[in-house]
């Protein structure tokens, strides 16, 4: 089939995925013990008050009815209303989009900036000292928990040497870039070791492959080989690996947001689970899921388009 048909087909296939996720998150959220009205009213909850609030929130209806109401809202473009402060879930998420977006973006960019040169360095001479070093050091990045890394970065680069703000997000754009650096670095420290491993492996594979050998035999310089073949395949590989790890990336944001006091969608989700704010949990889950599915789709499409070895059937 043609590439375009493939794209169309994959886009359509997103729908059952999102549908499946909506069922899954609805089920899971309702399995969590704890009555939202009870939790919302806190110390002032009495049986009568709880009953009234439950009715108001609509959670006294049978589950199936609630689910269909949820889907109905979705089809009309609405993610529901928060139990906690009656604001629309979509506006709450959109409100936090700058923080989340910049954090995600920053983490990805820094990961690539760190991983790419180091992978090239390592792959250039397999087994050499620099190869060993490049492979050993990121292990520390992978192993140390993000909480610790984040706190250490703040201690060293925010307090001892006040290069960056300790937390928060800032108002103006330059302020925001400044604030997002340490959190992005925290994410990158976790992500780049994973990237480096995959990049290095695929680069070595390319360098050993037939067409590179042929190119070398033809006298094409190593520099050109790197630029044209290795880099191109490295990018394909990066894209695939990042696509696979997007879920980890999104998940690690939860911890990073808390350490750096950034009000992103990760902390929105955690706080909402504690408050049993079902609409927000469902809404944010679907939103995250949508991002992951979209990114995964894009990586697959790029992979299919660029990698000559893959045949689209």
């Amino acid at each position: 089939m043609s590439y375009l048909t493939y794209v169309g087909k994959r886009l359509l296939q997103m729908l059952p995925v999102l549908f499946g996720i909506s069922i899954a998150v609805f089920a899971i959220v309702h399995l969590i013990p704890g009555d939202p009205a009870d939790v919302l009213l806190g110390q002032n909850a009495t049986d009568a008050r709880v009953k009234i609030l439950n009715k108001k929130l609509g959670i006294d209806r049978p589950l199936l009815v609630q689910y269909f109401a949820f889907v109905w809202d979705l089809l009309h473009g609405s993610l529901g209303t928060s139990f906690y402060n009656r604001e629309s879930v979509s506006s709450l998420i959109l409100g936090r989009l700058p923080e989340t977006g910049m954090l995600l973006f920053g983490g990805v960019i820094l990961s690539i900036l760190i991983a790419l040169p180091l992978s090239i360095l390592a792959a250039s001479k397999r087994g050499a000292f620099r190869d060993q070093l490049v492979r050993a050091i990121p292990i520390v990045g992978l192993g140390m928990p993000q909480v610790w890394v984040g706190v250490m970065l703040i201690l060293l680069l925010g307090l001892r040497f006040p290069l960056f703000p300790v937390s928060g997000f800032g108002e103006t754009f330059p302020e925001r870039i400044h604030s997002i650096f340490l959190p992005s670095l925290t994410i990158a420290i976790l992500l780049s070791p994973i990237l480096i491993r995959s990049l290095r492996a695929s680069m070595l594979e390319i360098l050993d492959s037939d067409y590179v050998l042929t190119a070398r035999a033809k006298g094409i310089s190593t520099a050109r080989i790197t630029r044209v073949h290795v880099l191109r395949n490295a990018i394909i590989a990066s894209v695939t690996v990042l696509g696979i790890n997007i879920a980890y990336l999104v998940g690690s944001m939860v911890v990073v947001e808390r350490v750096f006091a950034i009000s992103g969608t990760g902390s929105l989700m955690i706080d909402s689970i504690s408050r049993r704010d079902y609409p927000i949990v469902q809404g944010v889950t679907l939103y995250f899921a949508f991002i992951v599915v979209l990114v995964s789709l894009i990586t697959d499409l790029i992979h299919a388009a660029l990698d000559p070895r893959v045949v689209v059937k």
């Binding site: 939790v39 360095l121 300790v166 400044h178």
Partner: protein, 508 residues
């Protein structure tokens, strides 16, 4: 490979350039006149009836009451009320209001506003019970309020100083309650500006505040930052001015910092180990006394509170009127603990479960200490952690065996806690323990309804001794209120009733 070196070189050059450009941007300390709190709880509501510790400090900057607690927390002073007189039978209280007070929208404070607010508070299902004695509130003239009580009620002034009796405009100025609390109007030094849930809430100075020259600050913002270390770093780095309730374990580090002041404020607060008397073993007073003797208060104080608290000897915290410092309570003594357990039918050993809030470091440390101590007298204590909202629900539903809980006094009179925590009237089955001692209930009632300090003292001394002997809960530690602030801040003070007023605070 040349290109490889070039790539690396370019990469590091870019980093250096970025650093040089960005360093000057680091100087973003909070500006003078605008004060920033960092705290671990998010604001919830402006409704005084629903207020908990997460919201009431902020409410108290926007609303005021007829009276307010004194700095030492031992009494009350007239505030929106100028003075009062009581009738001979003690049942009619006449208050004269200040005539120079305006709400933040410019309208003057009148007795009608007071009547509206107090009536609403009394009818409230949250804290209404503390106004139980109030029979009626009348506003015969714009500056006079008359309160008739159903019986002689000594704590009335203390109750009027409670946040739940905050004065709001009559009929919410024509709005519904929900609308009003989204943008409230009060007589306090600050006015609501903006709330971003999950991030921060900001108040700005009330231009028509009745105390001339105050407040000194332009605005106060409370930022919600969960991570303890991040709050500490924000304070040290100048991004925050006051750190609300840093964990006691951070205190030494904060005290060592040259630009930080630490406040260890005496608090009328208690921590308890609660027992569910429905559990067969815990319905036995000897078992409860045994466990109470086995609580290593010194260890808990050292590990959890860095030695800044005091071992508890009474259900009432020190600083509260009629607190009996001579009540011996039950202190750490493993021998006595074993002896008590031997008197019960569990001398061969016992298994109990302690419910705690997951992630709460104080709870976790206390639980570990308890587990180790109880093991020594043959009680195997397992620890079950639930996340805080679930733990509260479980505690209320009394589906736990033992749990950790506490109390912070809001008024200087012991009545609020004793009614809530001990008697059926409090509506909580004695703070969710199922304890019910008729003699204690009677004594609490007696203290409530007398105005003679000697009678009250006798009643409350009896109550404290009896509940300690009954060990209905184990009293653990009385902690201080901990705050840390930048040395640019002056005038910040937290009274034992856990209230601070920002109109006296200066920055810079």
């Amino acid at each position: 490979m040349v290109s490889r070196k070039k790539t690396l070189g370019a990469f590091f050059a870019a980093l250096t350039v970025a650093a040089t450009v960005l360093v000057p941007l680091s100087a973003n300390a909070s500006p003078t006149g605008d004060l920033i709190f960092v705290r671990s709880q998010d604001f919830a509501t402006f409704d005084p009836d629903l207020a908990q510790n997460d919201s009431l400090f902020i409410q108290q900057q926007v609303f005021e009451g007829l009276y307010r607690g004194t700095k030492d927390g031992k009494g009350v002073e007239p505030w929106l009320a100028k003075s009062h007189t009581t009738s001979k039978d003690g049942l009619t209280w006449t208050f004269k209001l200040r005539t120079d007070v305006k709400f933040s929208n410019g309208s003057p404070l009148t007795a009608a506003d007071v009547k509206f607010s107090l009536d609403r508070a009394t009818a409230g299902t949250g804290w209404g019970f503390i106004n139980e004695a109030i029979g009626s509130v009348e506003a015969p003239s714009t500056d006079t309020v008359v309160i008739k009580t159903k019986f002689q009620w000594a704590p009335l002034l203390a109750d009027l100083a409670c946040f739940s009796n905050s004065i709001m405009p009559k009929d919410f100025g024509g709005k519904t309650a929900a609308e009003f609390f989204k943008d409230p109007i009060g007589t306090g030094a600050f006015v609501f500006d903006k709330w971003t849930p999950g991030t921060e809430i900001k108040l700005v100075a009330n231009k028509s505040y009745w105390q001339p020259g105050k407040p000194y600050l332009n605005s106060v913002t409370w930022k919600y930052v969960i991570d303890d270390n991040t709050r500490e770093f924000m304070l040290k780095g100048g991004q925050a001015d006051i750190n609300e309730e840093p964990p006691a374990t951070n205190i030494k580090s904060l005290q060592a910092a040259p630009n930080i002041k630490v406040g260890i404020f005496p608090a009328a607060a208690s921590n308890y180990l609660a027992f569910n008397h429905k559990v067969p073993a815990l319905s036995d007073v000897n078992v409860r006394r045994a466990i109470s003797y086995a609580v290593d208060r010194a260890a808990i104080n050292k590990v959890v509170y860095s030695g800044l608290g005091t071992a508890s000897n009474s259900f009432l915290p020190p600083g509260v009127n009629y607190y009996d410092k001579n009540s011996p309570g039950v202190q750490f003594d493993l021998k006595k603990a074993a002896a008590e357990l031997a008197k019960s039918k569990y001398k061969k050993g016992l298994k109990l479960e302690l419910l705690i809030r997951g992630g709460n470091k104080a709870h976790e440390a206390t639980a570990s200490i308890l587990q180790a101590s109880l093991k020594k007298i043959g009680i195997t204590m397992t620890i079950k952690a639930q996340e805080p909202s679930v733990q509260r629900v479980t505690q209320k539903a009394m589906e736990y065996q033992m749990t950790l809980t506490g109390w912070t006094m809001d008024i200087v009179d012991p009545d609020q806690l004793l009614t809530f925590g001990l008697t059926p009237q409090g509506g909580t089955s004695a703070y969710f323990t199922n304890y019910n001692n008729e003699k204690v209930n009677a004594a609490v009632k007696k203290g409530q309804t007398s105005v003679d300090p000697k009678v009250r003292a006798a009643a409350y001394t009896f109550v404290q001794k009896q509940v300690a002997d009954d060990a209905f809960m184990a009293f653990t530690i009385n902690p201080p209120y901990l705050y840390a602030w930048s040395n640019k801040i002056t005038g910040f003070f937290v009274n034992p009733l856990y209230s601070y007023k920002m109109e006296d605070v200066k920055k810079g």
